[in-house]
């Protein structure tokens, strides 16, 4: 099978998955017990029959289901998800557009950091598996896995932003930048970094364990391959075997798995942004839950899903370039 056909197949799969998510998203708010209009107004002061009718026609719920679906699909394709209930007067896409950059900054930097640190720990752990270092890093990974990220975040917040006992309160308690402070240039950058540091640290520590584990197992697998033995038999130094024979081959599956972990990272972003009141998409999700802002939740859900599907597609395509055997299979 040629590369073209392989990639086209993967793209078709991704499009199909996206279509499934869209259909799911559509029916989630329509098939479930209860009237979506009532659902939107539930718990608000605007809950009365007139408003119910109005909302129903606003949402197009008085039209037949196929027509509703068609409107939904065309609206989604134009990134129109309706108006946010939480922030009145703003459309869902505007609200998301405002909040997306802090999340990209936070997730981007912490993913890069945890991947690099995790890979290094994994390489040394796998190369000397069974050593004290390996056992130590495995125990650490297990402990971090068992710990809810948000709880770890709260403890860090309490220690370094609230200040408890011997811990100094040296960091701000949350936000993206100091509100009201009209900073510019370098002072503005350090202010942003100062606010970024604690959530960044929590996410980095929370996720480096899984990267270390994947890399460790991958290194151990490659170490058992024949070509490593051949290299040793030729008299290549151990350091060179690790650097030129083991690591490049072990990196292959790991790189794609890092892309695939994006789904988990979104989960972390939601709780950690909430803990540090960091104004990104995660905090927006929590605010949408509290305000029962269903159009916003729907838009966010679609965005998160689409991001993961695209990351999956990139991983597949990247992998086929890095490892031609995949295309042949």
């Amino acid at each position: 099978m040629g590369t073209r056909r392989y990639i086209l197949g993967k793209v078709a799969q991704a499009v199909l998955t996206l279509a499934f998510v869209m259909v799911f998203n559509f029916f989630l708010f329509r098939v479930l017990p209860g009237d979506p209009a009532a659902l939107l107004l539930r718990g608000t002061t605007a809950f009365n029959p007139e408003n119910l009718e109005e909302v129903r026609s606003d949402l197009g719920l008085d039209k037949p289901l196929p027509q509703q679906f068609l409107t939904y699909v065309t609206d989604t394709a134009r990134f129109e998800f309706g108006e946010s209930f939480y922030l009145r007067g703003a459309t869902v896409s505007e609200v998301i557009g405002d909040r997306i950059w802090p999340t990209i900054l936070l997730l981007g930097t912490s993913t890069i950091a945890s991947a690099i640190i995790g890979l290094i720990i994994g390489i040394y752990g796998g190369w000397r598996h069974g050593s004290k270092f390996d056992v130590g890093s495995l125990s650490f990974t297990l402990f971090v896995y068992a710990m809810p990220e948000f709880w770890f975040g709260i403890l860090v917040l309490m220690a370094f932003a609230g200040g408890v006992g011997p811990f100094p309160a040296i960091f701000p308690t949350g936000g993206y930048e100091t509100p009201g402070a009209d900073l510019s240039g370098w002072a503005h950058v350090t202010d942003i970094l100062n606010h970024l540091f604690l959530p960044w640290m929590v996410l980095t520590i929370a996720y480096l364990g899984q990267y270390a584990l994947i890399m460790r197992n991958s290194v151990i697998d490659v170490m058992n391959d024949d070509f490593v033995q051949t290299a040793r038999a030729k008299g290549v130094r151990e350091k060179q075997v690790l650097r030129h024979h083991v690591v490049p081959n072990a990196l292959l599956p790991t790189m794609t798995l890092i892309l695939l972990s994006l789904g988990f990272i979104f989960g972390g972003a939601i709780t950690i942004e909430y803990v540090f009141s960091y104004p990104g998409l995660g905090l927006l999700t929590v605010q949408a839950i509290d305000a029962k802002d269903f159009p916003l939740l729907q838009g966010l859900f679609l965005l998160f899903s689409a991001a993961v599907i695209i990351a999956n597609l990139i991983a597949d395509v990247l992998y086929s370039y890095l490892d031609p055997r995949v295309r042949a299979a």
Partner: protein
């Protein structure tokens, strides 16, 4: 061979495991009785291997401790302590003392009492959600693996879709639409965690269904129902069991996350809701560590315990890992 003779008494115990020379095998009774004897023996073999696994034993003991706390909660801490108006409450926000070993919360309730009673809800949600997840995962895995062809492609496509959708956003959307209750939380976790189980079970079914005894049974005219429930299911059951225990850990973590985000049932106290209340009341900023550390540590210990038990069982029961 007459009773009393030991010649030819063959067991399929793994190398290195010596079974105690029990009473000699009796004359076979019904096929069902033979099957049960075989199962009992293999359960004993698993236990002998499990006992040697230090990590697995630590996990098991921790687990028994928490289950005991959940069962005997009324004896450990009186239930009235959960009420905000209980006269037994102390001064709000007081640090640990003799009367309140974990201090008190914003209502003056003992955090110790809350944590003890939280064990019940957290374990209950974890176990019930896992039961749903296992039921869906096993049925889909077995049907896909056994029937092959179009049922397999349809079911596996569905599984892949659910694997791709990010778990927490999906759970949040479902919980937000369905409302705040314990049943909803259990349902949501159950219907979002099954795909990985379905894939593991399907892979095992694919291997089991080609074995000679399945073919023999089919040749004797067994129906699909008989084949799947009497031959396939018992042989994938150990794997389902190991996977179940790992899923409980994930379910408990998910419950705490959803509860922390305010999607839990406000009337039933779990470790997640305690953390939600504490964080909402500003415990982190005020440095009320006694309110935050006990429920969090309880989650860590229970999840660790389930994970250690699951890994230990997986090592013993999973044919792929055993070969190493």
């Amino acid at each position: 061979m007459r009773p009393g003779e030991t010649f030819g008494h063959v067991t399929d115990a793994p190398i290195g495991v010596e079974l105690e020379p029990g009473p000699p095998p009796e004359i076979p009774r019904s096929p069902r009785a033979i099957a049960w004897t075989r199962r009992r023996l293999s359960a004993r073999r698993v236990w002998i291997l499990y006992r040697k696994n230090a990590m697995g034993m630590i996990g098991l003991i921790t687990l028994i401790f928490f289950i005991a706390v959940a069962v005997f909660a009324p004896l450990i801490a009186p239930k009235e302590g959960l009420e905000a108006t209980c006269p037994c409450n102390g001064t709000p926000f007081s640090p640990p003392s003799w009367g309140f070993p974990f201090g008190t919360d914003n209502f003056g309730r003992s955090v110790f009492t809350l944590t003890v009673w939280g064990t019940r809800i957290s374990l209950l949600v974890g176990l019930l959600a896992t039961a749903i997840s296992m039921l869906i995962g096993s049925v889909i895995g077995i049907v896909a693996g056994y029937y092959g062809r179009w049922p397999e492609s349809v079911l596996m496509r569905l599984t892949d879709w659910f694997l791709v959708i990010p778990f927490l956003p999906l759970a949040i959307v479902l919980a937000a639409v369905l409302g705040r209750s314990l049943t909803v939380i259990i349902f949501v976790i159950g219907v979002t965690t099954w795909p990985s189980t379905a894939r593991i079970i399907r892979a095992q079914v694919l291997s089991v269904k080609t074995r000679p005894y399945v073919e023999r049974s089919r040749a004797l005219g067994s129906s699909s129902w008989h084949l799947t429930t009497r031959h396939i299911l018992p042989n994938v059951a150990p794997l389902i069991f190991a996977n179940t225990i790992l899923t409980v850990a994930i379910a408990i973590l998910s419950e705490s996350t959803l509860a922390f985000l305010g999607l839990g049932d406000p009337l039933s106290i779990s470790w997640g809701t305690i953390l939600d209340f504490a964080f909402g009341a500003g415990a982190a900023g005020a440095g009320q560590w006694w309110w935050l550390i006990p429920p969090g540590l309880a989650i860590v210990f229970v999840v660790l315990a389930f994970t250690l038990c699951g890994f230990a069982l997986d090592e013993i029961l999973n044919p792929k890992l055993r070969e190493r």
